[in-house]
Structure formats: structure tokens, C-alpha cells
């Protein structure tokens, strides 16, 4: 069976909410039923057939072709299956996702993987602000799963993150891991100002030292930590530069903080 393919046929002027188009929600529906599903488009409602050319039949593997940055809520709350995005994705990609795999060949907008519970999100391009964060006003961000960004990520990555792993091969913006409760964020590129702002627990693993650390962090010295190779080996099934670092990235300088919060978090900065 070929992937159920939704090819975007219109130039979007408003945000289009495609949250109904997930493997678990489409399972067992006929082509006609899928074509007639309503989608929110700005303040109007469209049907799937109005926006997309529909091909293929495998509802367990959904492909968005010619995707644009106004396609919001891709894979929202999905529990299983696979969604493949050819092009860019809008905001709230994989929001509250509970299982399955989402791959994006381009960039994604803000709040990708926000409140993610489980599953894997692979982004070939860059991600916007609040990757893996909590929705505004909420206090529970990403709570499981793996997010890999091959490009850069915006500000406030992992805001209120509770569990799970975020891997960023490029740069990350300001306030990385802000208000983190737990979990791990690793960044190979430079990071912006104030990493770990108000983090209670959790780990930021950085390949490059930040320009400055907040005063709430204390230097705990140089260490060889056994869990780092274990962590990096655990992503060896993914196509990522992190998987090749397990033999090299062991020695780190540990900074504990942020003492303006609980102070049990850590920023680990790789040493040559």
C-alpha cells in the first residue's frame, strides 16, 4: 500500500488546522469520508478535498506534500503510525503527540513538539521558538519522546520540559531549557543568552560554552560522566551526528543550578 498523500493545492493565506489528519483518526475511513472532513482555515471551514489532492490508501503512513508554514497542528495528539512532511510545517507540530513518528524535510514554526508525551519527531530543517515547551499558561511541557532538529532552534527550547530528549545539531536561541522540570536537551552549536534560566532539574548538554552563565549556576568542576555515552548510544538508531559522539563526548564541565529555582539542574559543557 502506498502512503495516504495529501498534496496541498492552494496558496494558504490563513492558518490551516490539519489536526484531524492523523493515522489514528483516519483509520477505517473511506476516501470519500476523508475528503469530506472539515478543516479550520482562519475563521472559515474547508473540507480536506478543498485544500488537498488525496492519493494513496495507507492511513498508517500519511504524507503531506508541498507543505507550507501555515499548516498547523500536524500530528496533534497522534498515538501511532507515521506522518511524513515534504516541505515546511507550521506551528504546533506534534503537539501532545503520544506515539508514532513524524518527519519533516523542511523547517517548522513555533511550539513544535509542545507537550509531547511520547514518540519521535525528526526535523531536517530548523525549528521556531518554544520547541518542546508547554503551551502558554500551562506548566507541563514535553513529557517524553525524542525530538531531533538538524538545523537551528529558536528561543525558549524546552520551556517547562518535564522529561524526554531534545537534540539540536545546529544553534539554539536564548533561554534554552528555561523553567525546565527535568529531561535532557543537547546542542551541538552555539546557544543564546541565559541558558537554564530558572531550571529546577534537568540537563543541558552543550558542545560549546555559552557566552555567559546566569549567576544562579555554580561550577562543579570537570568530570567524566558515565551516563553521557549511554545517552548518545541510545540515539544510534537515528541518522544524527549525536550518535557518533558516544566515543568522544564524555568529559564535561558541570555547572549546577539554577539556584533561583530548585537548583538541581545542570549545564554540562563538553571539554576537548
Amino acid at each position: 500500500m502506498s502512503a495516504l498523500t495529501f498534496t496541498l493545492q492552494m496558496q494558504l493565506r490563513q492558518r490551516l488546522d490539519v489536526s484531524p489528519l492523523t493515522p489514528d483518526r483516519l483509520q477505517g475511513l473511506s476516501r470519500a469520508q476523508i475528503a469530506g472532513l472539515p478543516l479550520q482555515y482562519g475563521n472559515r471551514t474547508l473540507t480536506v478535498a478543498d485544500a488537498f489532492l488525496i492519493e494513496g490508501e495507507d492511513t498508517g503512513h500519511i504524507l503531506f506534500s508541498k507543505a507550507q508554514t501555515k499548516l498547523d497542528y500536524i500530528g496533534r495528539g497522534m498515538t501511532c503510525g507515521r506522518i511524513q512532511v515534504e516541505g515546511d510545517a507550521g506551528s504546533y507540530l506534534a503537539m501532545q503527540m503520544r506515539g508514532g513518528l513524524i518527519t519533516v524535510s523542511g523547517h517548522v514554526d513555533a511550539y513544535a513538539a509542545c507537550e509531547l508525551k511520547n514518540g519521535t519527531v525528526l526535523i531536517d530543517g530548523s525549528a521556531g521558538d518554544f520547541l518542546g515547551a508547554a503551551l502558554p499558561g500551562n506548566k507541563k511541557g514535553m513529557a517524553g519522546g525524542i525530538v531531533l532538529v538538524k538545523g537551528d532552534a529558536g528561543d525558549r527550547v524546552g520551556d517547562h520540559q518535564r522529561r524526554g530528549l531534545i537534540l539540536i545539531e545546529g544553534r539554539a536561541g536564548a533561554y534554552l531549557g528555561s523553567r525546565m522540570t527535568a529531561g535532557t536537551i543537547a546542542v551541538l552549536g552555539q546557544v543564546g543568552n541565559n541558558p537554564g534560566y530558572a531550571m529546577a532539574r534537568g540537563t543541558l548538554l552543550l558542545a560549546h560554552p555559552p557566552t555567559a552563565l546566569l549567576p544562579g549556576f555554580s561550577d562543579c568542576g570537570l568530570h567524566t560522566l558515565g551516563f553521557i555515552p549511554l545517552l548518545l548510544k541510545s540515539v544510534s538508531h537515528l541518522d544524527t551526528r549525536f550518535a557518533h559522539l558516544s566515543d568522544h563526548l564524555k568529559r564535561v564541565r558541570r555547572h549546577a543550578g539554577d539556584r533561583c529555582s530548585l537548583g538541581k539542574g545542570e549545564i554540562l559543557i563538553a571539554q576537548a
Binding site: 568530570h223 558515565g226 551516563f227 549511554l230 545517552l231 548510544k233 541510545s234 538541581k264
Partner: protein
């Protein structure tokens, strides 16, 4: 049945159900992994008085361990789940947590979960850190040499204890040499341990005793110095008997280990003073698993 002049008795080894787990101990090098593993599996020859039976299963190459360091796979067996959990926690806390550079991981991921680092973490006094990696939860406990990394739980599975065979020889050195050959061969079999010192026990027991306080006592029928004093199982030329006890995860694992061990003994043969292979047969008093020697060697 005779193999290379060695008589294989028409008898069976009698074994009983147990609960088992496997843990993986890694360290900076194999020397320190051995130190930790030896301590963990020490004083664990028999459930009669040790609380559990334990042994080292095999060495692990760095490519086989979770953290990419050299390691040892060790197995613990006990009569019940609660006892096994208690023994594991006590031994891990006193013998592995304390060993320099060591880390401790689950070696079985099936069956019921029993605590490994789940309670040891409290040694961290609030500074411990949990990490969920690859679906498993680990604890990083700060210790004076760095961090003790420990998986939260390990799996506990049904197992069999007390598989055994007896080597009857013309002299003590010949019995011991045959046992050493057997243990060398049996150590290559996965999923089994031979819990006694060097894998060999010279004080095989029978069920019960004339003393009310004891539930096991010397197996007088196989004691060579009592040949004229008790209902002996030994012929005049047998001067020494030694036993190899095997605990394994499954019936098939124990059968394979017994076969490999008996083959190694028989290779020495009658020419080296090995007369008979027998087994601890307690007439059904000990347990439901019967390992017939001649069937295993057929």
C-alpha cells in the same frame, strides 16, 4: 551406560523452582568489574544459609555493555521473589555501589521488575538525578569517585535450582581435576551458574538430619570414609566424591550444562581414575524437576 569407561548411573538429579535475575556490572576495567562482581556473588553458595545462590555468568566485551565499558554478567537465584529482591538490594548496595568506578545495569528485561537502583538512589541524599534513556530509567548517584550509574530495576524470571551431578573417583586429586575440566566447559554455557566455590561442592547434602534443628546434613551414602559404617552408594575403589550444582534459567539450560560437564569429566575417563557419574536423587523430597543422567547423555 558407560562413556570412556565411566559408568553413568541410571538415576536423576532432583531440582526445585527458584526465582532468578541477572545484572551487568561494568567498571573502568575488567579488574574492577571482577572485584565488584566477586563481592556481589560472595557468600551465596546455597539458599540453605546464604539467602540466595549467585555466581558470575561470563565476562562481557565493551560492545556488549550498556555504557561501553568492560563488564561482568552475574546471576542471583532465590527461593522467592521477595527474598531475591532483598538479597539483590543488600548486595548491590554494599558490594557494587561501594566498588570504585562501577556501574550496575539490568541483565534481564522480561518478567516482573525488582528494584536495582530504585532504593539505592536514596544514598544520594537528594543530590541523585534520574535519567530516562532508551525507555529505561537510570539513577545517577553522586559518590566520592564521581557518579554511580544504576538502572532503576531489573527483571525477575522463574528459574530452576539444584541441577547437579556427582563425580566418583579413585582419588581426591583425580576427582578435583575432573571437576575443574567440567567447570571450564560449563562456564561457556549461557544462563547457568555453578554457585559453589570454584563451581564445585565437596559437602553434598541429603534432606533432613538426626538433629531437629537442621533440615540438611551430610550425604553419608556418598562419604567414602563411612563406607563400612552406613548404607553406602560407593564401591570399594571409590575414594573421593565431588558434586557440581547448577542453577539455570530453564530446564534446557541445565540439561545442556550437565551434558557438557559430564562429557568433560568422561573425557578424562577411567584411565584417570574416574569411575562413575551419579546425581543427587532425594526420592522426590526436594523438587519437581528431574534430570535423568542417561537421558541427558543419550
Amino acid at each position: 551406560m558407560f562413556i570412556n569407561g565411566v559408568q553413568i548411573d541410571a538415576t536423576f538429579a532432583e531440582a526445585f523452582p527458584m526465582k532468578a535475575t541477572r545484572v551487568i556490572i561494568t567498571a573502568q576495567n575488567l579488574k574492577w568489574a571482577y572485584h565488584a562482581a566477586q563481592a556481589l556473588t560472595g557468600f551465596a553458595t546455597s539458599v540453605i544459609a546464604c539467602g540466595c545462590e549467585a555466581g558470575m555468568e561470563r565476562e562481557l566485551d565493551p560492545s556488549e555493555t550498556p555504557d561501553g565499558r568492560p563488564g561482568i554478567a552475574a546471576m542471583l537465584f532465590a527461593m522467592g521473589g521477595k527474598g531475591l529482591a532483598k538479597q539483590l538490594e543488600t548486595r548491590a548496595g554494599q558490594c557494587v555501589l561501594t566498588a570504585p568506578t562501577s556501574a550496575l545495569f539490568a541483565g534481564i528485561h522480561t518478567g516482573d521488575k525488582i528494584p536495582l537502583g530504585k532504593n539505592l538512589r536514596f544514598f544520594g541524599d537528594g543530590f541523585q538525578i534520574a535519567k530516562r534513556i532508551g525507555g529505561q530509567r537510570y539513577w545517577r548517584v553522586p559518590v566520592m569517585d564521581g557518579e554511580f550509574l544504576c538502572e532503576e530495576t531489573t527483571g525477575m524470571v522463574p528459574a530452576i535450582g539444584g541441577g547437579n551431578f556427582l563425580i566418583l573417583a579413585e582419588s581426591q586429586p583425580q576427582a578435583l581435576a575432573a571437576c575443574e575440566a567440567a567447570i571450564d566447559a560449563m562456564k561457556r554455557i549461557p544462563n547457568v551458574i555453578m554457585p559453589f566455590p570454584g563451581g564445585v561442592v565437596r559437602s553434598g547434602s541429603k534432606v533432613g538430619s538426626r538433629y531437629k534443628a537442621l533440615n540438611a546434613s551430610t550425604n553419608d551414602a556418598f562419604c567414602p570414609t563411612l563406607k563400612g559404617q552406613t548404607r553406602t552408594e560407593l564401591s570399594p575403589e571409590v575414594e573421593s566424591v565431588m558434586e557440581i550444582v547448577i542453577d539455570g534459567l530453564t530446564d534446557a539450560d541445565i540439561r545442556l550444562a550437565m551434558r557438557v560437564g559430564i562429557e568433560a569429566v568422561c573425557q578424562q575417563g577411567a584411565a584417570h581414575g574416574i569411575r562413575r557419574i551419579s546425581a543427587g536423587n532425594y526420592g522426590g523430597k526436594l523438587g519437581p524437576f528431574l534430570f535423568h543422567l542417561q537421558e541427558i547423555m543419550a
